[in-house]
Amino acid sequence: MSNEATLHSHDVHTHHGEHGHEHHDHGHHEHKQHFLTKYVFSMDHKIISRQFLITGIFWAIAGGLMSVFFRLQLGFPESTFAVLEKFLGEWARGGKMDPEMYYGLVTIHGTVLVFFVLTGGLSGTFSNLLIPLQIGARDMASPFLNMLSYWFFAVASVIMFSSLFVNTGPASGGWTTYPPLSALKEASMGSGIGMDLWLVSMALFIVSSLLGGLNYIVTILNMRTKGMSMTRMPLTIWAFLFTAVLGVLSFPVLLSAAVLLLMDRHAGTSFYLSEVYIAGKALPNVGGSAILYQHLFWFLGHPEVYIIMLPAMGMASEILSCHSRKPIFGYMAMILSLIGITVLAFLVWAHHMFVTGMSPFLGGVFVLLTLLIAIPSAVKVFNWLTTIWRGNIRFTVPMMFALGFVSLFISGGLTGLFLGNSALDIHLHDTYFVIAHFHIVMGISAFFGMFAGIYHWFPKMYGRFMNNTMGYIHFFITFIGSYVIFWPMHYEGVAGMPRRYYDYSSWESFKQFAELNQMISVAAIIVFFAQLLFVFNYFVSIWKGKKVTDPNPWKANSLEWTTPINAGHGNWEGEIPEVHRWAYDYKDDGNGNDFIPQTVPLRDGEEAH
C-alpha cells in the first residue's frame, strides 16, 4: 500500500552493502565467490529455494517409499516381501513387517510429508524463489537469516533421518505423537530415543520455519519496488504473506508442546501425565492432562494445513490466470478470502478433538467456526472456475496440474464438511474417511499446486524447460491414480474402518475390504513410480532440458519474467524496474500481444485497474 515503503527499499539495499557478511554488488558482475559460500551456505534466495526444493524432493521419495512399504502390508497382509527385508532389515524378518515398524513408517511418512515436503519444500521453495522476484527486490530482507533457515531445515532433516536407524526404531505414535504414548518409553519402542530425535528434529524445523517466515513478512512489507503497492502484488505473494503469518503465530506453540513433552520424558514433570499404570508400575505422575498436548499440538496442527494449502492456492491462481490468458477473477475477493481463512485457521483447532470428552458446548463452538471456514474456501473455488470461463486455455503441464488442483480441492474440501460436524465426526473420527479427506485435500491437491509451480517456474530456476511428455504422463497417472487410491477410502471410513491398523483380517466388521485394500496398494505403487518419473524429469532437465530462449516464455505479467534468463545475484542488471499496473492485465496491448506486463506504463487515456 505505501509507496514510501517501496521508495525506502532502495535505502534498505544500500544498508545491505555495509554489512560485512553480505556479498552482493548491485549491478556489477560478482567477485569470485568460494564454492562453499556460493552454493552451500548461499545467501542468494534463488539458490536457497532450490536447496529447499531438492531436500523436499528427497523427503518426498523417502516418505513415498515408506507408504509403498506399509501399503504392501495393508494390501497383502498374508504375504511376505523380500524388498521389505532388504530395506528394513531386522524390522521385517522373513519379509514380514514388524507391527512396531509399521507404526514407525506411518508416523515418519506423515511427519516428513506434512512438514518437510509440504511446508519446507513448498513454502521454503516458492516463498524464497518468488518473493524478491515478484515484488522487485534484490534479495530477502536478511539473506543471512535466510541461509540459516535452510540450514536449520537441513540439520533437522539429518536428525529425523538418523532416527530411522536407531536400535529401538523411529517415533511410532503417529505423526501427532500424542502422550502418554509418546511420553513413556515403556509404552512403545518408538517412544525411546527415536521419539527424542523426532522432537529435536521438529524443534529445529520450527526454528527454520520461523526464520523463514519472519524474513518473508518483512521483505514483502518493506522491500517492494517503486509502484508495487500491496494491491498490485500477484496473489502468490499475498498467499506467501499469510502463510508466513500463520507460521510465525502458530509454530511456537508446537515448540512449547515439544518442550513440555521432552520434560515429561526426561525431567520427571507431569504436564501430560496423570494416573498411569504401565509395565507393572503405577507412575508417580499425577495432575497432568494428555489433552493439554492435543490443544497445543492442534493449535499449530490446524493452521499447519493452511500453511500447506495457501501457497498452493496462490500459485494455482497465478497459473490458471496466466495459462487462460485472463485475469484471476475477483482479485480483491481472493485476498479477502485468504484473510478469512487465515483468521479462522486459528479458531478451529479443536475440531480434531471432538471425541476427547471435551465440553459439548465448546465442541459446538468449534463446529460453527469450522463450517464457517468452508465459506472463503468455496469462494475461492468459484473464483477459479470463473477465471477459466471464457478464457483461451493453453494446456501446458503447469495448467494441467492447476486444473487438477481445483478438482482435488473440491473433492477433498467438501468431505471436510462431514468431519467438521461433530455429530458426524463422532462416527468418522479416526477412520479411513479422515485419511481420504486429508490425503485428497492436502496430500494430493496441495501437491498438485506444488507440481504446477515447479513445472511453471522451472524455466526461471534453471533456464530450461522440464520435458513436456513426461510431464503429461506424470499428470495423468497421478491424477487418475490418486482418485483410485483415496476415493474408495471414504466408504471404508463410513463403515467405521479404523485408521492406523496393521491388519484387518481378524475383524468381522472390516475384513470384507481385503480385496479393495489390495487394489489400493497396487494403485499406490504405480502412482509412486510416476513420481519417480517426475524426479527423473526434474534432474535430467536441469542439464538436458530444452533451453529457454525467451526470458518470458509463458508470456506472463509478473516481475520475475523481467529478469535475465539465468538471473544472477541481485536479480536485475541495472535498476530494478518500476511497476505501473497490477499483475493481471491479460488484454490487448495494441501491439499484437494479449498481455501487458506490470512494468509497462499506462498508455494515454488508459485507466489504472
Binding site: G174, L181, E275, A290, A333, G363, I480, H609
Partner: protein, 349 residues
Amino acid sequence: MSGLLLVLLVALIFVVLYQVSRSSELVASIQGEENFDRKRNKLLGFSMLILFVALMVGIFACHRYMMPLMAPEAASDHGKDVDFMFIVTLSVTGLVFFITQTLLFWFAYKYQRDENRKAMFFSHSNKLEMIWTTIPAVAMAVLVAIGLKAWFKMTGDAPKGAMQIEMVGKQFNWISRYPGPDGVLGKRYFTNINDKDNVLGQDWADKANLDDIVLQNGELRLIKDKPVELIIGSRDVIHDVGLSHFRLKMDAVPGITTRIWFTPTITTSEMKKITGNENFVYEVSCDQMCGKGHYSMRAIVVVETEAEHKAWLAKQQSYYVQNHPEAAPAAAPAAAPADSAAGKKLTMN
C-alpha cells in the same frame, strides 16, 4: 523378481520414456512448434472431457462395488441420527460436487485455445461474490443447526435409569466392569492396580466394589432398547472405544473419565438375520493410536433381550469373589450389601 532386475527394469522404462519424449520434441520442431502445439492442445482439451467422464464413471462404479460391503443399518437411536445427518450432508455436498466438477472440466474443454477467439477480460463482479458467499453461508448454517441438535442430544446427560458399564482400555485389551446387583460401580484408583488380582485398581474398602463384575475381555452386554452409559477410562495411554455399528466413539484418557450414552435397538441375533451373516458380531475397535497392538484391541458387544441379560448376569461371579473365594456367599453368587443403591451416587476413581 530380484530387486536388482526390478530396478534395472524401472530404469529402462524411464530411459525409454525419456527418448519418446525427446523424439516428440523433434517431431515438434519438424512440424513447426505452432502446429504441434495446436494439435497437442486440442488433444489435451479433449482429454478434459475424458477425465470428467472417467471421474463420473469411476465414482459410480466404486459406489456399486462398495455398497454391499458397507455396515448394516445403525444399531442405536443416536446412530440413526448420525446416518440421517450423513445423508443430508451428502446431498448438499454431492450437489456442489457435481456442479463444480462439471463446470471445471466443461469450461476447460470449451474454452481451450482458439486463434479466432480472444479471452474475455472479466476481472471481478461484486454481485457474483455476494451471491456465492451468501448461498454457502446459508447452507453451512443449516448443516450446523442439524449437526448441533444431534450433538447436544448425544453428549447430554444419560437418561435416568440408564445401565452403567465401565470400559477401561489398556495396552492391548479392553476391560469392562458391571455394577452388579447394587447398581453402583465402586471406587477405583490406579495405585491399587495389580495384574494378578486387581486389574482395575478397585478399592476393596468400598463395599460397592464387592459385587462388581469384571470381564477381562472387555465384553459389553447390552439390553435392546435400554439406554446404556459407558464410563470410559484408560490405564496407560489414550485409547478410544469405537462402536461403528452404533455410530459413535469416545476417547479413553488416563487420568480423565469420559462418558458416552446410547440406546441399542437391534439385538445380535436380529442383526445376524438382517445381514444374512451367521458370523455377525458387534465389535469394539480401539480408535486412537495406542502402540503396536492398537489393531488388535478387539472386544465383543452382545445386544440381547432383558431376559437373556438377566440370565447371563445370574451366572457371573463378582471379580472380588473370583479372587477371594473365601468371601463367596453360600448360595447366591453375589450378596447385596444392606445399604445399597438407594441415593448412592456413582463413585469412581
